[in-house]
């Protein structure tokens, strides 16, 4: 006789998961008394009812999430009991001040964008999927705020964590995170909440954000970030399912193909420009681990973005008649491996240290060796810079942002992705509505000039968003003294004079820069500068910029 188990004793007839999901989907109906206003319109046509690939209901979802939370919070307690911070690498945690200032807003923006797709999707099959994603994003946003508070309470230097959301709104680096987040929830609802958010950001780039980065955290003695972010990532498969299902509901209608081509192109390129700039820098420059056998960011990108996403997700869309921009994928790859995109971004972050709200220490010989091993030729291009950076890290030196001896040329800002035009030879300009703008690449120029317009290739696109605001950060402080700008930013410690940012990890007042150390330097907007030139001079200036710069030997 088969052994008795508790399950056998207590089991009772139930309804199947499929049955439960279809009953729940049947909660919706077509209103007949009052029609819902289409408040977030789209230029897409969605005629097919999207299918729910997950078939999960809320009564299994909530306990599952609670269990995941229990594991996360238990692990945070364990990390403290194990004295994690005694062995954590400050170089790493400092970058978390930037990362965790940015990420909770994109997360909650994704919750908001579920309102947009929730109403657009015909039928109610995916409603539960959208609901779970909405609550997931609420989870992510607040669990990340909790992690940040935890770092603030337990890490040696809390300055920067303590001002986090204020810093997020003001910093020149968090600008790119705001572009990312607003991209999820403003403009054409499908462009934003489906293609940009789920089809590209979540399906492709959360892998580098939430999988590759935690591995690097662990190598730096930080067990908290992997605990939180791998738990966050475990929710993403649901979101990827939502995005794909919605995409499949539109893809068979040829009238959508032109817009899908546009949006996949815009979303892929901008995700690359933003996510690779930030996460690439954290992983490559925030680490102290220089194990040559580990994958570099480019290698990780090849695995997650090229092999996993491009080859197995994007390419199959071609069979539906969608034009995929293979050239952009290749160009993004080239930017990473041939044009040193990540290295130039890290260099820019370091140059701008006085207006950061975290510390960046210089790279050392040990780091140089690893970079040269992974990126042959790196030392020739960046070695002198980091030596200058170290030399100028002591208070009393002229800060590297304004130091004219070292040879660095402050970059133009890309009007589209908002990362500066760091690959100098690719910088370009164009006019939109009679005004001149600068861009990091031709793809970004196209995004502003062509994709974000009232029509696309002759087709009216009345739902498409528009770039707005004071997009060039430098313009906000044009003509300001650096010290006054830092005060206005709020990046000053509670003593009223010591800067939050420091170009080193020396936790000692004697070594720390104050407002007096940076006073007497005037910030300027590169865009204003180039707009003020005559067309001929502008052409010369652009040609000069595209030649790049050479760091002087030290």
């Amino acid at each position: 006789m088969a052994p008795m188990t508790l399950n056998k004793i207590t089991a009772q007839k139930g309804i199947s998961i499929g049955e439960a999901a279809s009953r729940v989907a049947d909660l919706g109906w077509t209103p007949s008394y009052v029609q819902e206003a289409m408040t977030f319109p789209t230029d897409y046509k969605i005629s097919k009812v999207p299918k729910d690939p997950m078939k999960q209901v809320l009564r299994s979802y909530f306990p599952m999430q609670e269990e995941k939370d229990n594991r996360v919070y238990g692990a945070l307690d364990a990390a403290l009991r194990g004295d994690m911070f005694r062995n954590v690498e400050p170089r790493w945690v400092e970058w978390m001040k930037l990362f965790l200032a940015i990420i909770p807003f994109p997360e909650i923006s994704a919750a908001r964008s579920m309102a947009m797709v929730g109403r657009l999707a015909p039928g109610e099959e995916l409603r539960t999927g959208f609901t779970m994603q909405m609550v997931d994003e609420f989870r992510h946003s607040t669990i990340q705020m909790n992690l940040k508070k935890w770092y603030m309470e337990n890490y040696i230097d809390p300055a920067g964590f303590d001002i986090t959301e204020a810093a997020f709104g003001k910093c020149y680096a968090t600008t790119i995170g705001r572009q990312f987040a607003e991209g999820f929830l403003t403009g054409d609802a499908i462009t934003a909440a489906n293609v940009y958010l789920t089809v590209v950001a979540e399906t492709a780039f959360t892998n580098t954000l939430f999988v590759a980065m935690p591995s690097e955290a662990a190598r730096n003695g930080d067990y908290a970030l992997p605990t939180v972010f791998l738990s966050v990532q475990s929710d993403e498969s649901r979101h990827i399912g939502n995005g794909h299902s919605m995409l499949m509901a539109m893809i068979n209608d040829p009238s959508n193909h032109q817009l899908l081509e546009r949006d996949l192109r815009y979303a892929f390129w901008q995700n690359h420009a933003i996510v690779d700039a930030a996460i690439g820098t954290f992983i490559e420059y925030g680490t102290t681990n220089r194990d040559k056998s580990k994958e570099s960011y480019s290698e990780l990108w090849h695995r997650w973005i090229y092999e996993d996403y491009y080859r197995t997700y994007m390419l199959p869309l071609e069979k539906y008649g969608i034009k995929i921009h293979h050239d952009d994928v290749a160009a993004a790859w080239d930017r990473l491996v041939k044009k040193n995109y990540v290295h130039k971004t890290a260099q820019f972050f370091a140059v701008g240290w006085p207006v950061n709200f975290w510390r960046i220490e210089a790279q050392t010989e040990k780091d140089f060796e690893w970079f040269e091993h992974k990126y042959p030729g790196w030392y020739n291009e960046f070695g002198a810079f980091w030596k200058w950076y170290e030399k100028l890290s002591h208070p009393g030196e002229q800060n590297i942002l304004f130091n004219t001896d070292c040879g660095y040329v402050y970059p133009h800002r890309c009007w589209s992705c908002m990362v500066p035009c760091l690959i100098r030879e690719d910088m370009c300009t164009d006019e939109v509505d009679g005004k001149l703008y600068t861009y990091c690449s031709d793809q970004c120029r196209w995004t502003h000039k062509v994709a974000f317009g009232a029509e696309y290739e002759g087709r009216p696109t009345p739902a498409m968003g528009r770039f707005s605001g004071r997009r060039e950060w430098e313009d906000c402080y044009h003509g300001w003294d650096l010290a006054d700008a830092i005060k206005d930013l709020g990046f000053v410690r509670p003593d009223g004079k010591t800067l939050v940012p420091q170009p080193h990890l020396r936790f000692d007042d004697k070594e720390m820069w104050t407002l007096d150390h940076v006073r007497g330097n005037t910030l300027a907007s590169p865009l204003r500068g180039i707009r003020a030139l005559s067309p001929e001079d502008r052409e010369k200036a652009v040609a000069e910029y595209r030649k790049g710069f050479t760091m002087r030997p030290i």
Binding site: K13, E66, D83, E89, T142, M145, N154
Partner: protein, 365 residues
């Protein structure tokens, strides 16, 4: 301690530990989020998780919103409601929910509901339900689940529009509760249907769509779903629908009558929604109260809320009155519609007195 150690290179920190307190320097004790004014003496954990995560040009957004809708509307706009505020940032949710507390509460409810259903079914309770009551559950609780779903989708929509994170997150958890309860009812009815021969799980939707008893309720729900002002939706859900129709049906009918029909299961399932509502109501009253006592726009706002109370109050009263025949359907009659309606009106009166509004016309008790 560590600060006395010698550096091992130019760039390495002399302090080897990354732990709090390992060195003392400017800012090394600044261990609280310092960019917002807590509501009380000290910031709550909820405030730390929530405040200012959604920025705006009044709260640190130096570069303003950087993407617009084609008509020039920014990513978040104060114009998405008729209501005005001198400071949208003051509101804090009374239930102080952030992700961990939300999942704990939702998960506890899911466990409670499933245990009640499983134990009830195991003990054969459904076989002892009064036959007339079974039909009431099938037709009317079955219809009502769609009302809850409609409000869940309306609040899901509304949580996109608020001007602050605090407002939007309160509306988001409201939506999460409503959608869970709609599913609780759906799955509960599907499960007891396995034990009750002839129980038609499709009947509820048919009644929702066709039965004259439910049409005024459906009209009310569709009106809320169709409103384009997110605060109008939030107000109509919690200040009008819930006390006048939701509680009327859930407490005034199901929970009061079920026991007398040999049903101990349904009241327990439905009770979760009553507790959900207490929290959602507290949040809504807090927000509306802030807006009607706004130093600049209080009177103006009171006028707006009064007009919504009038509009949705009339629809809700009509919905409530149309539900009256349901009270006659159970075999054992232990509560009357008139008593339930009087209680509902009194509840509306109590809520309105909290927010300085006067229920007029048929809403007056």
């Amino acid at each position: 301690m560590g600060a006395q150690q010698k550096p091992d290179s130019n760039t390495a920190s002399p302090t080897k530990s990354g732990a709090a307190g390992a060195a003392s320097f400017a800012g090394s004790e600044s261990r609280k989020y310092n960019y917002f004014e807590p509501k009380g003496r000290k910031a709550t954990h909820y405030e730390d998780m929530t405040v200012d995560v959604q920025p705006d040009p009044e709260r640190y957004l130096l570069q303003d919103w950087i993407i617009n809708f084609p008509d020039g509307t920014p990513t978040y706009s104060k114009d998405w409601t008729k209501v005005k505020s001198a400071d949208w940032h003051k509101f804090r949710a009374v239930d102080e929910e952030w992700e961990r507390t939300h999942y704990q509460r939702q998960s506890t409810i899911c466990g409670m509901v499933q245990n009640v259903i499983a134990n009830g079914r195991k003990s054969g309770a459904t076989a002892r339900f009064d036959k007339a009551w079974v039909k009431v559950l099938q037709d009317h609780l079955g219809a009502y689940k769609h009302a809850e779903f409609g409000l869940g989708t309306a609040t899901m929509q509304a949580q996109r529009y608020g001007y602050t994170q605090m407002i939007n997150n309160a509306i988001l958890t409201n939506s999460s509760y409503k959608l869970r309860f709609a599913q609780d009812l759906t799955l509960y009815l599907s499960e007891i249907a396995l034990d009750i021969p002839g129980f038609d799980t499709a009947a509820g939707k048919k009644h929702w769509l066709e039965d004259p008893t439910w049409q005024a309720t459906r009209k009310l729900i569709e009106s809320i779903m169709g409103a384009s002002d997110y605060l109008e939706q939030y107000f109509a859900v919690n200040i009008v629908f819930e006390p006048l129709v939701g509680e009327l049906f859930r407490s005034g009918f199901v929970m009061q009558l079920a026991a007398a029909q040999n049903d101990f299961v349904t009241p327990a399932v439905v009770s979760a929604a009553e507790a959900d509502y207490e929290r959602n109501l507290a949040n809504t009253v807090e927000l509306i109260n802030l807006l009607v006592t706004d130093p600049q726009y209080g009177e103006y706002n009171r006028g707006i809320f009064s007009s919504w109370l009038g509009k949705y109050g009339a629809l809700a009263l009509d919905a409530a009155n149309n539900l009256q025949p349901i009270w006659s359907q159970p075999r054992v009659k232990v509560a009357t519609f008139q008593e339930a309606l009087a209680k509902a009106k009194s509840r509306v009166g109590a809520i309105c007195s909290e927010i300085g509004l006067n229920p007029a016309g048929g809403l007056a008790n």
